[in-house]
């Protein structure tokens, strides 16, 4: 057992990671009077300097392709103008994937993590999502019910600000909503096509505020949400939770702190956190009364697996890794050709979506998916915008220019976001032979879709195709099922449960084995419903933080 120097500073709570989970923990705890140290593996965020919101492509000579042209070789999936939020590959910080497996891991190294850019889709789980095994015999039930979490969904929505409409649909529980923005032309058309097919096309639910809220300005509809929002009209943990928490005087942040392991004290509890200060490459330690892991599901699993079996008597850490099932079908809608030009910027992405609508009948695959309906609208062109037109129509000259004008704004797409059932073949573990440049052993991923997901993807393909056909679309083309990790909804690797033999955490995301250890990220998820995870991460982290503060007050941790 490692020695912890008494001279190392002592903190009430050390939070590791500053995304949705860490940001919520920091915000809730400091508001309750708790002193917090936040360790972030990346640098600080200065929105005014770091966000490229409102920039036009011609303001940089490389137009967004990167000075080294890396866009052309797949090195820039989310583009030069996106928030400085993360990467599929981080130099010096590799991960490995088992032979014949595929998994992509998107990580972030900056204050606020992936919340600086994410899609902000904010969906509550449905009541049945918490009891999947009771429903169809697959997976595991959560140790909590919808009603247990509902008050924190309320708090989360009321605080971060979510727009939407109340619909009374069981698969999409209503929340506390700000007004939803108007529908673009193609979105109204999709809504009418959906009505014909019995698909409820309702207002999107996203964490962008349409009314001024808590000192944040209302959305100004520039459509650049993914670049980071200077007015914080789109939620990010950095601007909405961490900056205000700093003002309480109870938060201290250490940047470039790459956590290596949690160090157990003689009493079996976490006594200290060991991290590498990236700026000096020196190991440092901080002592803690309690620790909150919020480094992201897989990074938190990695820290635990590198901590001598801490909190893992069940052996579940790293297991039950899931991502969201994704598939996209798009088509060209002739009725949109020649449409009068209008401003389609709005809120980035769709203003509508289809919640899972077949939950009350037997399908040939378990669980369900929702549809994120899109369309380019008359979006601001970027590098790559007309590659599809050129590939399809070929040619050159005046004819090609005409084609591009004609096709501009006519693409409509349906993207499925579906539930994956945890399986034995999908997990992460420590690679015994590889470390990162900080000397920390890295993760090795195993991942496989099962028949459940493949059948679901096929169902998506068919329902999306009929929706597009109803719109009169031509040139309908489908992607395949996404690669594991590609949707960036990886969860489940430190799951909660009522039985310590089959779960790492209790119903408050507190480690069964180690009472002063908590998890605030998606690691705690028991299943991965078709609802994007962030809102639930925030609600769970909020509930956990209140519980933690109360336990500290009572002297239980």
């Amino acid at each position: 057992m490692a020695q912890v120097q008494r001279s190392a500073p002592l903190y009430d709570v050390v939070v590791i990671g500053s995304g949705a989970g860490g940001g919520t923990a920091v915000h809730t705890l400091t508001k309750l009077g708790v002193k917090v140290l936040l360790l972030e593996a990346g640098g600080p965020l200065n929105p005014a300097k770091d966000f490229k919101e409102h920039m036009m492509p011609w303001q940089v000579p490389h137009r967004g392709a990167g000075e080294d042209g890396r866009y052309y070789f797949g090195g820039m999936k989310y583009g030069f103008f996106e928030a400085p939020n993360g990467y599929w590959q981080i130099p010096g910080e590799p991960y490995t994937v088992a032979a014949d497996n595929q998994f992509d891991w998107f990580r972030s190294r900056i204050l606020g993590g992936r919340t600086n850019h994410y899609g902000r889709v904010s969906l509550r789980f449905a009541d049945y999502d918490f009891k999947p095994r009771s429903m169809d015999g697959l997976g595991t039930d959560w140790p909590i019910s919808y009603n247990d979490l509902a008050p924190w969904y309320d708090k989360a929505e009321a605080f971060i600000g979510v727009h939407g409409t109340r619909e009374g649909i069981r698969s999409a529980p209503d929340g506390i909503f700000q007004p939803a923005p108007a529908l673009r032309v193609h979105e109204t058309m999709i809504q009418r096509a959906g009505a014909k097919l019995g698909m409820p096309v309702i207002a999107a639910r996203k964490a962008m505020i349409t009314k001024a809220h808590n000192g944040r300005a209302a959305c100004h509809y520039c459509g650049h949400c993914g670049r980071g929002c200077l007015t914080a009209s789109a939620y990010s943990s950095s601007q909405v939770q961490i900056f205000p928490a700093l003002k309480t005087g109870r938060l201290e942040i250490v940047h470039h702190a790459m956590v290596r392991e949690l160090i157990r004290g003689a009493d079996g509890k976490v006594a200290a956190v060991s991290y590498i200060d990236k700026t000096t490459r020196q190991e440092r330690r901080v002592r803690c009364r309690t620790v909150v892991l919020a480094a992201s599901a897989c990074e938190s699993a990695r820290i635990l697996l590198n901590s001598n079996g801490l909190a893992n008597s069940s052996g579940v850490v790293g297991r039950y890794l899931t991502d969201t099932v994704g598939l996209t079908v798009r088509g060209h809608v002739p009725a949109l050709e020649g449409l009068m030009r209008y401003d389609t910027d709005g809120i980035r992405g769709s203003h509508v979506y289809v919640p899972w609508w077949l939950y009350d009948r037997k399908n040939d695959f378990p669980r369900g998916y929702h549809i994120e309906l899109g369309g380019t609208g008359f979006a601001a062109p970027q590098v790559g915008s007309f590659q599809g037109v050129a590939a399809q129509h070929q040619g050159f000259g005046r004819e090609l220019k005409k084609r591009i004008r004609q096709d501009y704004g006519t693409t409509v797409s349906c993207t499925g976001r579906g539930e994956m059932i945890p399986n034995e073949k999908s997990y992460c573990e420590i690679d015994p032979t590889v470390t990162d440049e900080w000397g920390i052993p890295v993760l090795r991923f195993h991942f496989a879709w099962s028949e459940h997901e493949r059948k679901q993807a096929e169902h998506m393909r068919q329902s999306f195709t009929s929706l597009l056909e109803t719109l009169g679309a031509t040139s309908i083309a489908s992607s395949g099922i996404t690669t594991g990790g590609e949707v960036i909804h990886e969860v489940g690797t430190v799951r909660m449960g009522s039985d310590p033999r089959t779960s790492a955490l209790n119903a408050y995301s507190q480690a069964h084995d180690v009472k002063n250890l908590f998890v605030a990220d998606g690691g705690s998820f028991v299943s991965n419903p078709d609802k994007n995870p962030t809102l639930t991460i925030i609600a769970l982290a909020w509930r956990m933080s209140e519980y933690l503060a109360e336990e500290m007050r009572k002297g239980n941790v």
Binding site: Y72, M189, C222, Y342, Q382, F396, L400
Partner: protein, 188 residues
């Protein structure tokens, strides 16, 4: 990279004053005017590239030719920044010259426009490309793709397709006439 992040330029006065005030320090950065000179390719390569870009996207009644939008300069810049792109253009432009000399006895840039167009007809459509011109067609695909990228990320390209956003709004609104127009062409 340009430091002049232009928010004032793209946000309409309709926006709340604080947002504009927040960006007071920023000067609008206009698109750099085309220099007409290479920073990486040879003068001959660049002249050939300019001609090629203008054949791919020529001037018409709506908008100017590619060379007026900084597109050849954009490609030249990326050739400097990326060895793979540089190889594509060194090799591809030389291929064009060699093919043109075989057919017409002159380099591509010196050939008459109908001869240039006839060559591109064979490169621009998969079904018209002779087997021995496949390498040339591969290059043409790159040139077409990057010409579109350069062109439509310029102010002229934005005007050409009719992009009218980038101004911001206080409440998001969609003109009723737009919906009516689409619904005239489609009924569920």
């Amino acid at each position: 990279m340009s430091k002049g992040v232009s928010r004032r330029a793209v946000l309409a006065p309709a926006l709340a004053a604080p947002l504009v005030a927040q960006h007071e320090g920023h000067q609008p950065a206009a698109a750099a005017a085309p220099t007409g000179r290479p920073i990486f390719l040879t003068p001959h390569e660049f002249a050939t590239l300019r001609k090629l870009c203008d054949l791919i996207l020529p001037a018409d009644e709506t908008s100017p030719a590619a060379s007026a939008t900084g597109t050849p300069e954009y490609i030249d810049l990326l050739c400097r920044g990326n060895e793979r792109i540089a190889r594509i253009y060194h090799g591809g432009l030389a291929w064009l010259d060699a093919a043109c000399r075989n057919l017409h006895g002159v380099a591509f840039a010196e050939a008459a426009e109908p001869a240039q167009v006839a060559m591109l007809e064979k490169l621009a459509y998969r079904e018209k490309t002779p087997a021995e011109w496949k390498a040339g067609a591969e290059f043409f695909n790159w040139a077409r793709r990057m010409t579109l990228d350069g062109y439509y990320t310029s102010p002229a390209g934005y005007r050409d397709v009719g992009y009218v956003g980038g101004k911001g709004m206080t409440t998001y609104e969609v003109p009723v006439e737009a919906l009516e127009q689409a619904l005239k062409k489609w009924k569920p």
